[in-house]
Symmetry: C2
Subunit: 331 residues, 2 copies
């Protein structure tokens, strides 16, 4: 087997974000649960879009954001995800390639449009997401190129992939190819309600197929149906080889079979929009891990990347993370 | 004739911006002239887009930005401009309506796509614009609703309208309807190279058909082919009833037949991206003028609106201008 020439290949729902400043009143008037990702059909997406304010469009998707972060740190990555050959699909593909991430998944030439996520940002910097999956529902195992998976040290999968009907087959195929090639498999739990939807499958994955797990406090508590974070830490220990648990302003914890590393939060200049914080933490951590850094340094890179992305509007870095990491003495 | 119920109706090229951070090296490698708007065909737009970095999409267009500013100040406006019924056209229409601006121009159902402007923002906050006019080339006199023009105190036209082939007919039709109804006609010269392209027509318009003219220093100097700003001031005096001349950090001058008012610049918190500065100055001034403010206060409202828009990425206000203007004691 050849030496892997990529750090990470990511598989995710390829989504263009529509970012709109909003208010608590708007959320309650439209029965939207703050901080959560809700799946919406096209009619609901259109109705919400009509009701909401003027927005800005930017390429997004949880795993897409992570790959953008890895590229911003100087890492080598590829992305697998499904768009249509429409205007927003071309924007998504352009943005991925423009940051140096390989993206070769064939776009749909008919059927549903490129996925959109209507993201309402409230003054408390929380984001409330409404995703119309569109073309993502067509991602399937035929989109997984074995040679690409084999060429990466880590295959990174977002939990949201369990929402579209055939993507989990792609997910499982990729994980098997990666392991057969001696590579690592990483999973992000994505969202506590996503965990609710697929708890049994996620528990099985974490116990048997995932080497590096990412979850925030509410996701890991949801996975094990516990209320206390330390209970969740004890439950996850020894399941995934490495469990990376993020706790917003309380920092993060990296849990291995026999160790726990508590990583302090990297202070953000300001907190404007929390969209992408978890995605960028994963980016920093995976970049560190695939580039010879220890677990603590990898965690600090995650914290640094998260701090950058919450300091401005939008879910992808604006300042090159490599420069910030060098300045912080982490690279 | 009924009392006008709108402050301003604007007519312009309906464009979605693609904002990309860039460098002087990129500009010179691609033979782009800094600070200028260049018209590009679809092939050149695609080639530039492929070469440029990851971007953010936002509704723009010079006059569209002005109408957004008027709405942000609490003004009542309508917009006339041509999009296609594609994804970016829907984004443009949504954003216009979401800020409270009436927008009823029928979209194209076939033919060229919604216009895009690839805007390269260099670290000195200058923007270099490359416009693919797309659907804008189909704007024509049939898109001018006489009742709408009659219902507004001011009809505001961007000079860029002279670029697409039939829009100038729409422009002249609207100006005539406005004057026949006792309304005012306002023109922005848009860009010094735009003035170069249509100098004779613009001179005739300014001398005979325009009540309120907006131009920056290089545009007004280009109009009269003079090198000295004060020469240009003397030339424009008595042509348009009101000539509003902006000079970046040197403030602005409002010139009438018998008076000159020098308006100091409104200090921006920071200067990030100059895109939209002139458009927003026009917004503040026109809002003031149509809401009973004197020329000096109107100019200060223009300066305030311009200061907001250059303090962040993108060409439309992020903070409600009405709040800022109240805080500054201008409303």
């Amino acid at each position: 087997m050849a030496t892997p020439n990529l750090d990470v290949v990511g598989i995710g729902n390829a989504i263009v974000d529509v970012l709109v400043p909003s208010t608590d009143t708007f959320l309650s008037n439209h029965e939207l649960k703050k901080g959560i990702m809700a799946l919406v059909d096209e009619n609901r997406a259109d109705a919400l879009y009509r009701a909401m304010g003027s927005g800005v469009e930017a390429s997004g998707g949880s795993c897409g954001n992570t790959m953008a972060g890895i590229a911003s740190l100087g890492g080598k990555g590829a992305y697998i995800g499904k768009v249509r050959d429409d205007q927003l699909g071309k924007v998504f593909a352009h943005d991925m390639r423009a940051i140096g991430v390989r993206f070769d998944t064939a776009p749909l030439t008919k059927g549903p449009a490129t996925a959109r996520c209507l993201i309402l940002v409230t003054p408390d910097a929380q984001r409330t997401m409404n995703t119309y999956l569109g073309a993502c529902v067509e991602l399937g195992p035929e989109d997984i190129d074995p040679a690409l998976i084999q060429s990466a040290q880590v295959t990174y999968l977002e939990g949201y992939l369990f929402d579209p009907p055939r993507a989990k087959e792609a997910f499982r195929k990729a994980a098997k190819i990666a392991h057969d090639a001696g590579r690592k498999v990483s999973l992000s739990l994505s969202d506590p309600f996503c965990v609710d939807r697929y708890r049994d499958e996620f528990r099985d994955l974490v116990a048997n197929h995932v080497d590096i797990l990412f979850a925030n406090e509410s996701e890991i508590c949801s996975l094990y149906e516990v209320n206390d974070f330390e209970d969740a830490v004890n439950r996850v220990r020894g399941n995934a080889d490495i469990a990376v648990l993020t706790r917003s302003e309380q920092g993060s914890v990296v849990v291995t079979r026999d160790r726990e590393h508590r990583i302090p939060v990297h202070k953000a200049d300001s907190v404007v929009d929390s969209t992408g914080a978890g995605d960028l933490y994963a980016a920093g951590f995976l970049y560190g891990l695939t580039n010879g850094k220890d677990l603590v340094t990898s965690g600090k890179l995650g914290s640094l990347a998260a701090a950058e992305v919450i300091s401005h509007y939008g879910a992808r870095p604006e300042t090159p993370l490599k420069d910030l990491a060098k300045k912080a003495g982490l690279l």
